[in-house]
């Protein structure tokens, strides 16, 4: 299925890196939430960011997507520096995200949530909307069709007309992913996608991530569940107190002394 095809702007051929975090620091007053962190995310991989609570993972996500621009350092997406870009610009560049505490448009239907996701990829102007020009009608039909495809892709097409808030918890997480895919991203940031999931749901989520990957979208996720992380990620970065303490493939991370200490405390 070619549902989640990439954004119109094709990436430079043969480019291996999709995201480069270059000495990024984020300070809130005296608190250093992210401290001089650098790592690369390669195109086509699943990259995981892990660490204890308060390690600065979501802050880093917020910096990448322009919600809180970093205090220092650079963020480079597909060779273009996007440090300080506004959130909507980050989406236009091809970075989509989901949220740790689900943030759907609760009083919009599931279908409308996904339609909204296509906002930055549609071109109807105010004039078109006011007068329902043929262009607008055509585009709206395409938007609706694609939204249905995406709902089917994540498996909640039966609930397309329900308010987002009335969906079951797991369906809401899936809807958030569908909405993010609607922006035609090349990099998808998932913030704790498996939080609150049953083991069965976690397996389904891992399958969904595989299918997203098969569409050519790089997945960068924050996750606490080690089974999920170790099962699907090719590379893992570990943050603790804002610092990058380990970086590498799962088998390296699993045996890293500092990581074990960060999670279990010294002397474990």
């Amino acid at each position: 299925m070619t549902v989640a095809t990439t954004a119109p702007r094709a990436a430079p051929a043969g480019q291996d890196l999709i995201l480069k975090i270059d000495h990024v620091t984020k300070r809130f007053g005296g608190l250093v939430a992210v401290d001089d962190v650098s790592f690369d995310v390669k195109r086509g991989e699943v990259f995981a960011l892990i660490g204890p609570n308060g390690a600065g993972k979501t802050t880093l996500f917020n910096s990448i997507t322009g919600m809180f621009p970093p205090s220092d350092g650079r963020i480079i997406f597909e060779g273009t520096e996007i440090t300080g870009a506004k959130p909507h610009q980050a989406a236009e560049f091809g970075i989509a995200r989901t949220f740790q505490n689900i943030r759907l448009f609760e009083y919009m239907s599931a279908l409308d949530n996904v339609r909204l996701g296509q906002h930055c990829r549609s071109r109807s102007r105010l004039w078109d909307s006011l007068f329902k020009t043929p262009f607008e009608r055509h585009e709206e039909r395409a938007i609706t069709d694609r939204a249905m495809e995406l709902l089917t892709f994540v498996g909640i097409e039966k609930r397309s007309e329900d308010y987002a808030r009335n969906l079951a918890y797991g369906q809401q997480r899936r809807l958030e992913i569908a909405r993010a895919l609607a922006t035609r991203p090349r990099l998808l940031l998932l913030d704790e996608p498996a939080a609150g999931f049953t083991p069965q749901e976690k397996v389904e989520l891992m399958r969904l991530v595989d299918r997203i990957l098969a569409e050519g979208i790089t997945v960068f996720l924050i996750e606490h569940d080690m089974k999920v992380v170790m099962g699907i990620s090719r590379n893992i970065a570990v943050l603790d107190h804002g610092e990058l303490i380990a970086l590498g493939p799962p088998e390296v991370i699993r045996n890293d002394q500092r990581v074990i200490e960060a999670y279990l405390g010294k002397g474990a």
Partner: protein
């Protein structure tokens, strides 16, 4: 009747409830002048004129509904744009500019000034919105409140240009390039050129046509990419931005479109009254319009129309009729002694006159208690009220997330 209307949209969430309501409204608009003339034996001009005036308020309410109901921005200074539109008409379609430093009168055609008034007001909307729409909720409300106070005061005090408190009078009567005369105006069926809109009926017809156009356009907006983005901004601004919506731009657009409606309505209002004065655009006008949309059902256009009609008739028909009504009742009930003033007692008519806004307040409180969602609510508002208000997720949430 009402129950059957409600059934239509409660059974199937995908079905738009509005066609039925719109049909009733259209029929009402057509039948109203006939009823007015027949019931008064041909003396219905006053009633028709009143409804044409109410139309101005409906226009205002539809515009404010875009700002508040669609985009969720609380604008408490909406009357400012109304004033700007009306004064634009006064400047561009009267002899007035002769007595100003400009010393040349400008007489642009009615239609042109309607559009100019619209764009001037939208321009001011952008000017006010650009620096302030980054503010959230309460702050925006205060800024617009201030703007709403400033504008009429400026018109009042720059008397060299606006003749201050006296306002500007003898504005040009609107002229239409072509108009269809017929039995309804007591003529043969024919096209007339340069038709002067003077009769209340002509104003009424023009108003209904303009309203019809506006309702169609606003409905188109609501069901478009733009309307969806507004809804998303209202629901969760952070998420909307993350999904690629330029939230500041969308809010600015809603604000400007609301202002455009207000300016358009203002120009029409000036043309109909042939007079503008700073007294007509105070804070109470902004609040009245806000009450209209809240009472009618925020976000729902037919609800807003019905709310406007209701509030308008309470303020301009029911409340003024109360004092004589009270005197009549007092006399009929054998309490005639209450009618004339004596000592401290001002007379029942005057007493009721003094208390009329108390009655207005009571009516509002009662309606909101009985129907908090508005007379014809949008489905969203109804859900919010029955399932609990959804939390206003703001920047604090992002802050909260970063500490997680």
């Amino acid at each position: 009747m009402l129950r059957s209307i409600r059934k239509v949209w409660e059974t199937d969430p995908r079905q738009d409830p509005n066609p039925l309501v719109y049909t009733i409204l259209t029929l009402g608009a057509i039948l109203y002048p006939i009823w007015a003339q027949v019931s008064t034996g041909g003396q219905g001009d006053f009633l028709i004129s009143v409804l044409a005036d109410a139309g101005v308020y409906i226009l205002l309410a539809i515009g404010l509904n875009v700002v508040i109901g669609f985009a969720g921005l609380l604008d408490l200074g909406y009357a400012a744009f109304f004033a700007i539109g009306a004064y634009t008409y006064a400047f561009l379609a009267s002899e007035h500019l002769i007595v100003t430093p400009l010393q040349t009168a400008i007489h642009l055609p009615f239609w042109v000034v309607l559009l100019v008034g619209m764009f001037v007001a939208a321009g001011f909307g952008l000017l006010l919105g650009a620096p302030t729409l980054r503010l959230r909720g309460d702050y925006l409300a205060i800024v617009t409140l201030g703007f709403g106070e400033i504008v009429p005061r400026v018109f009042k005090n720059v008397s060299v240009w606006t003749s201050g408190v006296n306002g500007i009078s003898a504005l040009d009567k609107p002229v239409l390039p072509v108009w269809l005369n017929g039995p309804w105006s007591g003529d043969r069926l024919q096209l007339v050129q340069n038709f002067k809109i003077i009769s209340p009926m002509a104003f009424y017809v023009v108003m209904v046509i303009l309203l019809g156009i506006c309702v169609v356009l606003v409905n188109n907006l609501r069901r478009s990419r733009v309307g969806r983005a507004w809804m998303a901004v209202r629901e969760d601004e952070v998420a909307a931005a993350a999904m690629g919506v330029n939230t500041v731009r969308m809010k600015l657009l809603a604000f400007a479109i609301g202002a455009a409606f207000s300016g358009f309505a203002g120009a029409f209002y000036g043309a109909k009254l042939s007079l503008v004065s700073p007294e007509n655009f105070g804070f109470s006008v902004s609040i009245t319009i806000l009450v209209m949309i809240v009472l009618g059902g925020m976000g729902n256009i037919p609800g807003v129309i019905i709310g406007s009609l209701l509030i308008y008739s309470v303020i301009f028909l029911f409340l003024p009729a109360l004092p004589p009504l009270a005197e009549e009742w007092a006399t009929n009930l054998g309490l005639g002694s209450l009618v004339p003033p004596s000592g401290e007692w001002p007379g029942i008519g005057q007493e009721i006159q003094n208390l009329k806004f108390l009655f207005f307040g009571l009516i509002l409180v009662l309606t909101m208690l009985l129907r908090p969602q508005g007379l014809i609510p949008s489905r969203v508002r109804k859900q919010e009220l029955t399932q609990g208000v959804h939390e206003d997720q703001t920047i604090e949430d992002v802050n909260a997330e970063t500490t997680a």
